[in-house]
C-alpha cells in the first residue's frame, strides 16, 4: 500500500466530508439552536457587565431599592406557598380523575398565561376592589388588596399559579396509579398513600413548578401595577426610575434584580438536580 502525503490528505478530507454528511441534521439544528441561546444570553450578560460592581453596591445600599427587592422576594414566596396549598390538591385531582368539562377546567387554568397581565390586574380589581363583594368581605376582617401587600400577592398568584398546577399535574400523572393501589393493600389509608407514595414520587414536578411560580411571581409587573403600585415591588421600581430619571438610574436596579434571581434560580436548580440523582 502506497502512503504518500497526498493520498493520506485526500483520504482525511473524504473522511471529514463523510463525517459532515452523516451529521447534516445535527449540525443544522445545532446552529439554529445556537442563535436562540445567544439571543437569550447576550442581552443578559451585556446588562450585567455594563454596570460596574461599585455602582451595583451603592444601589444595593439604597433603602428604597433594598426594601423593593425584599418585598418582591417575600411576596412571591407567600404567593408560591398559597399556590402549593391550593394548587397541589387541584393538580392531583386533575391527574387522577376524568370528568365532563375537564378540558374546560384545564383550559381555564391556562388563561392567566395568555391574557395581557394588565387586563388580569383589572379583572382582579373587579373582585377584590373595596367596592366589590370579595373586597368588602376581606375589608371587614381588615385585609386590603388595593395599595397593600395582599394585593401584590393576589396578583402574583393569579398570573403564576398555572405554572405550578401544570407542572405538579404532570408530576402526578407520571406516578403509576397502581403504586397507590399497592400501598392501599399494604395498609395505607388514602391519605397515607398520597403522602407516602404519590407526593414523594411527584416531588420533582411539584418542586419545579414551585420554582417556576416563584420566579414568575418576582418578574410580574402588569397585574401588580393595577392593584398596588405602592408599596413598590422591584420591577415597578425599575419602571418608575426609568420613567422619572431615565435609563442610567433604572439599569442598576434591573441588573441587581436579575443577579439575585439568577443566584436563587441556579441554587434551586442545583438542589433539584441533586435530589434527582440520589
Amino acid at each position: 500500500m502506497v502512503t504518500n502525503g497526498k493520498t493520506v490528505d485526500t483520504g482525511k478530507a473524504r473522511a471529514f466530508a463523510r463525517w459532515i454528511t452523516q451529521r447534516r441534521l445535527t449540525i443544522t439544528f445545532l446552529l439554529l439552536g445556537l442563535v436562540i441561546v445567544l439571543f437569550i444570553f447576550i442581552p443578559l450578560a451585556k446588562m450585567i457587565f455594563s454596570t460596574s460592581p461599585g455602582v451595583l453596591w451603592d444601589t444595593l445600599l439604597e433603602g428604597e431599592v433594598r426594601s423593593a427587592i425584599w418585598l418582591s422576594l417575600y411576596t412571591a414566596l407567600i404567593a408560591t406557598a398559597v399556590g402549593l396549598v391550593f394548587g397541589v390538591p387541584l393538580a392531583y385531582f386533575l391527574a387522577r380523575h376524568s370528568f365532563p368539562g375537564k378540558r374546560l377546567v384545564e383550559g381555564l387554568i391556562d388563561v392567566p398565561i395568555v391574557v395581557p397581565h394588565i387586563a388580569a390586574g383589572i379583572a382582579l380589581l373587579f373582585v377584590f376592589g373595596k367596592n366589590f363583594t370579595a373586597g368588602k368581605a376581606f375589608d371587614a376582617i381588615g385585609i386590603d388588596f388595593v395599595m397593600a401587600t395582599p394585593g401584590i400577592v393576589i396578583a402574583m398568584i393569579f398570573v403564576s399559579v398555572p405554572f405550578l398546577i401544570n407542572s405538579a399535574k404532570q408530576g402526578f400523572e407520571e406516578v403509576d396509579v397502581r403504586l397507590e393501589k399497592v400501598a392501599r393493600t399494604l395498609g395505607a389509608s388514602p391519605w397515607q398513600a398520597f403522602f407516602s407514595v404519590s407526593l414523594p414520587l411527584a416531588r420533582r414536578g411539584i418542586f419545579g413548578g414551585a420554582v417556576m411560580m416563584w420566579a414568575r411571581s418576582i418578574s410580574e409587573f402588569g397585574a401588580v401595577l393595577v392593584l398596588c403600585s405602592h408599596p413598590t415591588i422591584a420591577p415597578i421600581l425599575v419602571y418608575d426610575r426609568l420613567e422619572a430619571y431615565g435609563l442610567d438610574y433604572a439599569l442598576p436596579v434591573a441588573t441587581l434584580l436579575i443577579i439575585i434571581c439568577l443566584i436563587i434560580f441556579v441554587a434551586l436548580r442545583t438542589m433539584a438536580y441533586r435530589g434527582k440523582r440520589s
Binding site: 397502581r178 403504586l179 393501589k181 399497592v182 392501599r184 393493600t185 399494604l186 389509608s189 414520587l201
Partner: protein, 348 residues
C-alpha cells in the same frame, strides 16, 4: 377460604358478569383467560381497588364487599411489580409493616424471615431501578407477604420475565406457596403456566367464568373454544418423569414410556405439538427416540391439513398435510406408527 358471589364489574368496554369463585384455604388457584378478558380488574375488584357493580366477596365467612382495601388482608403482586422507586428494597418490604404500626423488633423479624425465604439479603440497600426483573419479582412478593395476608393475588407475575428465568421463578413460587400454606390466586393467559401451578383453574372468557376445575378436567373436557383450541393444538399429558437408566430422562404416561430431555423429576406434565409427530404405515429406523404403534381412532379433516387421533392407547393428535394423508391412504381403524424426537416433548 375466599369466595366471590355473583361479582359483577364494569370494565368500560364490557362487563364481567356474575363471577362465582370459591378458593379453598391454602390452594394455588389459577384464573386463566385471554388478554383483555378483565383478569386484572377481577383481581383488583377482589382487593377492593376497583369498584364493583354488584355481588359479594367473602373471606373465611366474613363479608368484605364494602371493606376498604387496607383492611382486607389481601396482598397484591402486579405484573411489572410496581415497586416504590423512591424507597430502597428494605423500605419497600417494610412499607406495610410501618403502615400497620407493627413494633420494630417484630418488623425486623418479619424482614429477616422474608429475606431468608426469598434469598434477597444482598439487595436490601439497593434501589428498585437497579434490580433485574427476577429480583424485582422477589421484592414485590416479599412486600406482599410482609403483612401476612390471608390471600395473595398475583397478576401475571411471570409474564415480564424472560423465558429462561420463568421456569425457575415458577417453581419457586409454587414451593413458597406450599411452604407457607397461604392462598394464592394467580392470573395468567399462559396454559402451561396454569397447568404447572394450579391446584384448580378457572377459565375466564367473554366476560364470564366459563369453567372451574382441576387442570385434568379443564383440558380433557374443555367447554370453551379458547381452551379447546389450545388443548387441541397440544397433546397434553401427565406422568412420572424419571431416569431412563442410561443417563437420560423418561416420562411414564399410563404405561406409555417416552424419552424426554429435562432435568426435572417427579409428577409433571408433557406436551407435544401435533405437527412434530411423524405418521407412517410401517415402523422405520431414525434418530428420533420415540416410536409408538397405535390405531387411528378419529380423522378430523381441516382442509389443507388433517388431524389424526391415534390411540396407543393414550390418544395422540397428529397433524399431516392433505397430500401425505392421501398418499399414505390412511383411514379410521387402521394401524399407524408415530415417531417424534425426545426434544419435541416439552416437560413442565
Amino acid at each position: 377460604m375466599i369466595e366471590t358471589k355473583k361479582l359483577t364489574v364494569d370494565l368500560g368496554d364490557f362487563v364481567l358478569e356474575q363471577a362465582d369463585l370459591s378458593v379453598e384455604k391454602g390452594e394455588y388457584f389459577i384464573i386463566l383467560g385471554p388478554t383483555g378478558a378483565g383478569k386484572t380488574v377481577l383481581l383488583e375488584a377482589i382487593a377492593g381497588l376497583h369498584p364493583i357493580k354488584s355481588g359479594e366477596i367473602w373471606i373465611d365467612g366474613a363479608d368484605i364487599t364494602c371493606l376498604e382495601p387496607e383492611k382486607r388482608g389481601i396482598g397484591f403482586v402486579y405484573q411489572d411489580y410496581v415497586l416504590f422507586s423512591h424507597l430502597s428494597v428494605k423500605e419497600n418490604i417494610l412499607f406495610g409493616l410501618k403502615r400497620r404500626r407493627r413494633p420494630r423488633d417484630e418488623a425486623n423479624r418479619t424482614l429477616d424471615w422474608l429475606v431468608e425465604l426469598l434469598g434477597i439479603g444482598h439487595l436490601l440497600d439497593r434501589r428498585p431501578d437497579t434490580l433485574s426483573g427476577g429480583e424485582c419479582q422477589k421484592v414485590s412478593l416479599a412486600r406482599a407477604l410482609s403483612t401476612n395476608p390471608e390471600v395473595v393475588l398475583l397478576d401475571e407475575p411471570l409474564s415480564a420475565l424472560d423465558p429462561q428465568q420463568r421456569e425457575g421463578v415458577q417453581k419457586e413460587l409454587l414451593s413458597i406457596q406450599r411452604r407457607l400454606g397461604q392462598t394464592f390466586i394467580h392470573v395468567t393467559h399462559d396454559f402451561e403456566e396454569a397447568i404447572a401451578l394450579g391446584d384448580r383453574i378457572a377459565v375466564l372468557g367473554d366476560g364470564r367464568i366459563l369453567q372451574t376445575g382441576t387442570s385434568e378436567e379443564i383440558f380433557r373436557q374443555p367447554n370453551s373454544e379458547f381452551v379447546a383450541r389450545f388443548a387441541m393444538l397440544r397433546n397434553i399429558f401427565t406422568g412420572e418423569v424419571g431416569d431412563d437408566g442410561s443417563g437420560g430422562a423418561m416420562i411414564d404416561i399410563d404405561g406409555i414410556k417416552l424419552e424426554v430431555v429435562t432435568d426435572m423429576r417427579g409428577h409433571l406434565h408433557a406436551s407435544i405439538r401435533p405437527e412434530d409427530i411423524l405418521v407412517s404405515r410401517e415402523m422405520f429406523v431414525s434418530s428420533a427416540r420415540n416410536s409408538l404403534r397405535g390405531v387411528i381412532s378419529h380423522i378430523d379433516d381441516r382442509g389443507a391439513t388433517i388431524n389424526l387421533t391415534v390411540s396407543t392407547p393414550v390418544d395422540f393428535v397428529c397433524m399431516v398435510t392433505r397430500r401425505s394423508f392421501e398418499e399414505l391412504g390412511l383411514s379410521e381403524g387402521e394401524e399407524a406408527y408415530l415417531t417424534f424426537k425426545a426434544s419435541a416433548v416439552h416437560i413442565f
